[in-house]
């Protein structure tokens, strides 16, 4: 998988580049709009991470040029400016997703992966180790024994299972599972994770839910 990162801020570019490499992506970088547009038109990227405030040519202009040239490459827009305005303008100009600064790298990674998965068929049965999550019947079992989960617990487990092997942040969980940003109440999520652990992990030797302190949670058969 090949990703283009267009970002003039060295401090941001450096960790995005390094992080994506460590996650197994091939990464190209561009430090201004002109450079970014040239690379995007020449190479077949799987995803483009595009900052809006760029020297020479701003991000929105790059995006429009790219789309008018017929390129459908998924684009994740980054912005430090007013969120709502930029979100609307970015999506209008053909962006596929939007991430406001400051963001967690885990979130950027999750969004990049989500863009890559787009279009691929979603399985109705998710398996993580001996845990099976059936999305159709909305039932879960571990090592053959049924798990008695509340609706909210199941929704949380589903989200974790969809991102199995990836770290998901509390912000991502609250926005996708609760459909609201708790901000000061991110410990609501901690409480639900604890409920879930009690049912999924406590009776078993092997733990599946892992805490990445300061980052978030991960559902994975391997720690």
């Amino acid at each position: 998988m090949r990703v283009l990162v267009v970002e003039d801020e060295l401090r941001v570019r450096s960790f995005v580049e390094r992080g994506l490499r460590e996650a197994g992506f091939a990464v190209d970088v561009a430090v201004d709009g002109e450079d970014g547009l040239r690379l995007a038109l020449v190479n077949p990227y799987d995803v483009i991470v595009l900052d809006l405030m760029l020297p020479k040519r701003d991000g929105l202009s790059v995006l429009r040029e790219l789309r008018s040239a017929g390129r459908a490459t998924p684009v994740l827009v980054l912005s430090a400016r007013d969120e709502v305005d930029d979100r609307v303008r970015g999506l209008d100009a053909g962006a596929d997703d939007y991430l406001p600064k400051p963001f967690a790298f885990a979130e950027l990674l999750a969004r990049v992966r989500a863009l890559l998965r787009r279009g691929t068929a979603r399985p109705s049965l998710l398996e993580v180790g001996d845990l099976r999550v059936d999305l159709l019947s909305r039932k879960a079992e571990r090592a053959g024994s049924k798990l008695d989960l509340t609706q909210k617990e199941f929704a949380l487990l589903e989200y974790l299972a969809r991102h199995a092997g990836e770290v998901v942040t509390r912000t991502m969980i609250s926005e996708h599972v609760w459909d609201m940003n708790f901000d000061s109440f991110s410990n609501v999520i901690d409480v639900y994770i604890r409920y879930l652990r009690r049912k999924i992990d406590e009776p078993f030797e092997k733990k599946l839910i892992h805490t990445r302190r300061g980052v978030g949670y991960m559902l994975s058969a391997t720690p």
């Binding site: 801020e9 401090r11 941001v12 450096s14 960790f15 995005v16 390094r18 992080g19 460590e22 430090a80 400016r81 007013d82 709502v84 305005d85 600064k101 400051p102 963001f103 967690a104 790298f105 885990a106 770290v167 609760w178 609201m180 940003n181 708790f182 901000d183 000061s184 109440f185 410990n187 609501v188 409480v191 639900y192 892992h210 805490t211 990445r212 302190r213 300061g214 980052v215 720690p223």
Partner: protein
């Protein structure tokens, strides 16, 4: 009103007019009585002169009778003539046997003398007599007349003067009140406009254009408002710029820390994890500050309003927070009736969340937080009451100031939750207010939907 400038000016004018006119009246009355007495004295001297012609002749009695008989329509006159030894020579009929009271000694020295005494026939001595005693040749002469006419005119003059004094003072005071009221009309308009000014403050005070003191004051105040506005905007821009400038470095710090954490096995690096948590704390703070700036500057996104039911909006939030409340052994409940408002769902939710956050943080274990929704007087109300320590009266407004946080409780907030809740409510024409009936009680008010209509089921 009781100490209004209008009333004070009117009272001052009344007092000054009464004093000045009263002084004038005293002076006029004084002059009047003096000139009247001079006139009387002239007449008495005329009588004495005439007497000088007839005294000692046989015409004396007839002259006295004629002179003193002109009364009825005129002042009463009496005449008494004695010889050098004090024996009575002649006197008018109206002089009593014992003579009029007076000082005979004055006349004996030779020099003419005037004196006054009360007419014996008058009660209370109200009727004054004025008399002259002098010598005409060898005779002692006493001529007197009453001052009834003078007294009557004096009293009438006094009555008229006092009546006009009262009228002048009243008219003056009323005129002063009216003029003051007219002159102060712009002040009332300025006050009304100043009250309507927002916190920024935006707008100017009305000028009359007359160039008078009040108009000039309004001009000076407008300049002051302008300077305050510029300063407030400058500070806001500064805060917003600073918060914006923090975003990129925060992103960078967090990103590098995350890579660091991922490199260590199973997030074993405690220091890195703690640093990330602190960065998140800072990030939340910056985001809140930016949100508040946006709301308060009114530069927020054009409000996407939708029809919402405050109760339906609050219920799931309360449900989600129940787990937190249980953790803290605080009971949390929500009840009330539907109340339709037109507002932005995300922002309204944020406001409710902030109020609940505040209540939960200030309620000790075993306490209670209740949410009550209803409609009252054109507003949808959501009240969040807690059983915490409550707030002293002087803090009921101050808790809405940024970073004002003296309520001790578990976990400090950013000091921005309540200001944000209020700013959100105000941006939709509502407000958040605090009271402390027992614990603290915060009420979020939003205008009821115009048609008071139904809420589409979501």
């Amino acid at each position: 009103m009781n100490r209004s400038i209008r009333l004070r000016i009117a009272l001052a004018v009344f007092t000054v007019v009464v004093s000045l006119v009263a002084l004038q009246i005293v002076y006029v009355l004084n002059r009047f009585s003096r000139s009247f007495r001079d006139e009387a004295d002239d007449r008495l001297e005329d009588y004495v002169e005439d007497l000088g012609v007839v005294v000692g002749t046989e015409h004396l009695d007839a002259w006295i009778a004629q002179t003193t008989n002109t009364r009825g329509h005129e002042d009463e006159v009496f005449i008494e003539v004695r010889d050098a030894n004090g024996a009575l020579v002649a006197r008018s009929k109206n002089v009593p046997e014992a003579g009029f009271p007076g000082t005979h000694a004055v006349g004996r020295s030779g020099a003419p003398a005037f004196w006054e005494f009360a007419h014996p026939s008058a009660r209370n001595g109200a009727r004054l007599m004025r008399a002259l005693e002098t010598t005409v040749g060898p005779f002692h002469v006493r001529v007197g007349m009453d001052l009834e006419e003078m007294q009557r005119r004096y009293r009438s003059l006094r009555k008229n003067l006092i009546t006009s004094l009262v009228l002048i003072a009243l008219v003056g005071a009323l005129a002063a009140y009216w003029v003051a009221a007219r002159a102060l009309l712009p002040v009332a308009r300025i006050a009304a406009q100043a009250r309507a000014l927002g916190g920024l403050p935006d707008g100017t005070l009305p000028r009359t254009g007359s160039g008078d003191e009040i108009d000039r004051l309004a001009g000076v105040l407008n300049d002051l408002l302008q300077r305050i506005r510029e300063e407030v905007l400058r500070v806001r821009r500064l805060t917003a710029d600073a918060a914006h400038a923090l975003r990129t470095p925060l992103t960078a710090i967090r990103g590098h820390l995350e890579l660091q954490a991922a490199a260590s096995p199973d997030g074993a690096n405690e220091h890195v994890a703690t640093a990330i948590e602190q960065v998140d704390e800072l990030t939340r703070f910056v985001n809140r500050l930016l949100l508040l700036e946006k709301l308060e500057s009114g530069l927020g996104e054009s409000h996407a309003r939708e029809r919402l039911d405050l109760l339906a909006l609050a219920r799931p939030i309360v449900d989600h927070l129940k787990v937190i409340a249980e953790e803290r052994e605080v009971s949390l409940e929500c009840h009330g009736e539907s109340a339709a408002v037109d507002a932005d769902a995300t922002q309204t939710r944020q406001a409710i969340l902030n109020l609940l956050d505040n209540a939960l943080r200030h309620t000790p274990a075993g306490g209670k937080v209740s949410v009550e929704v209803g409609a009252r007087a054109g507003f949808a109300e959501l009240a969040v009451a807690d059983s915490g320590r409550g707030l002293p009266a002087d803090q009921l407004e101050r808790v809405f100031e940024r970073f004002y946080s003296t309520r001790a409780g578990s976990g400090a907030g950013t000091g921005l939750g309540l200001p944000i809740a209020r700013a959100i409510a105000r941006s939709f024409g509502g407000d958040v207010t605090a009271s402390s009936p027992d614990g603290a009680r915060f009420v979020l008010r939003l205008p009821l939907a115009a048609d008071g209509g139904s809420v589409p089921s979501a």
